[in-house]
């Protein structure tokens, strides 16, 4: 039987506020345990929450960016469960009246087409603390620094049909939250976390199969692997005559498998009710409009502009706008060097290669945008050849000296002196009479041999256009 996969993603994004959602405790990552956990975060009796305006603004900013309905009145609820890293015994979340309603994201698929993925809702909630189960014999260690950190939970419609589409959606979401500057989106540090609801059904049917919720997926690569594993597992279960059980499964990246979180707990029953300690959140048009007015240029708009203004291909523009930092870097190089296409080539090929090789972010690059722009200018004004520019680029990684200083020090200036090139050409012709005879007899392919010899003699520094022209004249 042929199966169709149905996937919906729940993504938790940590909002990059300075203080927590409901208290004035700091939210810095990596602080010593419990140094950012104070009386409200610890649920000491008598403490009350007050909502962080910046967190609310960030949630609205996201909603506006994806063209979603923004609720002018939203309500917090208590989600009740017991776990030691949740001191209050409930998580403050939003159930029936989330701040962000229906919206959508457009993702680019591998075959070049685009697909619109619906977003059901996005709501604010507080994060829990962290539990350590290995470090203390017979005990669990609790760190409540993360307890109360603001989260935005973004829930997609079950519109995703493959692991690759899920990754494309997640990458687009990641780009948008980074463009909006509402989260650092660091999956390894847990500031962006993904749970995937996966089910399968026979192709052509419309009813949903039982779904498994896969948790603990903390990189783009694992999202793809975990979902593909789960699809195979469910197909195996059904084809062996079994039934997929609706359950929560944990992804184990080391073993590349998902496994059931067998829990003795009574099935989830969170007994939500409106949080009596918080009043309804009411915002007005002026608040929403002011946030809309401050939206930055988003990836899709930027991509279209790069194609239009800089004459780039869809592909190059897509690569360049994948992060805001890369797009900003490119624009500096393009504007300062004046050659937008050459700039795109250097940023997407040489620079991207360097970053990938060293696992660097663009802001870690030892070659800053203005230096790369100077290098490209030197190719354009014929100071160096494109080939030797790569040598200069390599040197620039280690050497912070100026581009011109490196070119001079290494003696890489292109030879454009007609007399000097003529001398080279004459020597090559004199030393290779046999090939000259072949060429003159009509074997034009030999021309490449002369170019190679002359280029070699110049140590790669001869201006290729001048060299070609002189050779042609002399070989007539």
């Amino acid at each position: 039987m042929e199966w169709e996969t149905v996937i919906g993603l729940e993504v938790h994004v940590q909002l990059s506020t300075h203080s927590k959602l409901f208290s004035g405790s700091a939210t810095k990552f990596g602080a010593a345990p419990n140094t950012q956990a104070n009386i409200y975060d610890l649920a000491l009796p008598g403490t009350l929450p007050v909502l962080n305006k910046a967190a609310l603004a960030m949630a609205v900013r996201f909603g506006v960016a994806i063209g979603a309905e923004i609720s002018k009145r939203s309500v917090f609820d208590r989600k009740n469960y017991f776990y030691p890293d949740l001191p209050k015994g409930y998580q403050v979340s939003q159930l029936d009246y989330p701040i962000v309603g229906k919206g959508s994201l457009t993702v680019a698929l591998e075959d070049g087409t685009e697909k619109v993925i619906g977003i059901t809702r996005a709501h604010m909630e507080e994060d829990a603390g962290k539990s350590l189960h290995q470090e203390f014999p017979g005990m669990s260690g609790i760190d409540l620094n993360r307890a109360g950190t603001p989260l935005l939970e973004i829930v997609s419609e079950p519109d995703i049909r493959s692991a690759k589409e899920a990754v494309a959606y997640l990458k687009k979401l990641h780009a948008i939250i980074r463009y909006l500057d509402i989260s650092d989106g660091n999956m390894a540090q847990g500031s962006m976390r993904c749970d995937a609801n996966v089910s399968i059904r026979p192709v052509g049917t419309t009813e949903f199969g039982n779904r498994a919720e896969i948790k603990n997926i903390n990189s783009f690569r694992f999202v793809e692997k975990a979902i593909n594993y789960e699809i195979q597992r469910q197909q195996g279960v059904i084809e062996d005559g079994g039934r997929v059980v609706q359950e929560t499964r944990l992804y184990d990246a080391d073993k590349n498998e998902t496994r059931s979180m067998r829990s003795k707990e009574v099935a989830n029953d969170y007994r939500y009710f409106p949080e009596p300690d918080l009043l309804p959140i009411v915002i007005d048009d002026a608040f929403i409009d002011s946030i809309r007015a401050e939206l930055p240029e988003l990836p899709d708009a930027k991509k279209a502009r790069f194609c239009r203004e800089y004459g780039l291909s869809e592909y190059d523009a897509g690569v360049l706008v994948s992060t805001r930092e890369m797009a900003d870097y490119y624009e500096v190089v393009a504007k300062q060097s004046g050659d937008t296409k050459l700039a795109a080539n250097w940023v997407t090929v040489e620079l991207q290669g360097l970053l990938n090789k060293n696992n660097w972010e663009i802001n870690d690059s030892p070659i800053q945008a203005d230096r790369l722009a100077t290098l490209i200018s030197r190719i354009q004004d014929n100071t160096i050849s494109g080939k030797l520019a790569k040598t200069v680029f390599e040197t620039m990684i280690e050497d912070s000296a100026g581009v011109d200083a490196i070119i001079k020090e290494k003696g890489l200036q292109q030879v454009t002196d007609a007399g000097a090139i003529e001398k080279l050409v004459d020597e090559v012709i004199a030393n290779n009479q046999a090939q000259v005879a072949q060429y003159r007899a009509g074997k034009e392919k030999v021309f490449g041999f002369f170019v190679g010899q002359a280029m070699k003699a110049s140590k790669g520094k001869a201006n290729p256009a001048q060299l070609n022209q002189l050779l042609k004249e002399k070989l007539k």
């Binding site: 203080s19 004035g24 419990n34 140094t35 470090e135 203390f136 669990s140 009043l279």
Partner: protein, 95 residues
């Protein structure tokens, strides 16, 4: 609407309340009485009434995003039964 004993036991478990076997019947009867009242309330036509999230007719005030709390870990951990290396220690929650 009557509640049966197993439902009372489930709710008690979720709320981590211990109810002895001797108490279950009385608790079941008392909760059933409340549910009867709720049934009566649900028969009222509320189509034109907005759901009420809070009895106070007011809206939430917002806080400026600044860190106002300092590190009080030592004082706060002196209230806890067990702590070590900066962590609060609790009976192990995973086997």
């Amino acid at each position: 609407m009557a509640l049966d004993k197993s439902e009372v036991e489930k709710v008690a478990h979720l709320a981590r309340l211990h109810i002895s076997d001797a108490e279950v019947e009385e608790v079941t009867n008392r909760i059933t009485d409340i549910l009867v009242l709720i049934d009566q309330m649900q028969s009222v036509d509320t189509d034109a009434v907005e759901p009420l999230a809070h009895p106070l007719d007011a809206v939430q005030r917002l806080r400026v995003d600044v860190v106002t709390e300092t590190n009080l870990r030592d004082e706060l951990q002196s209230l806890a039964p067990h702590s070590q290396d900066g962590f609060y220690l609790v009976p192990k929650v995973l086997e």
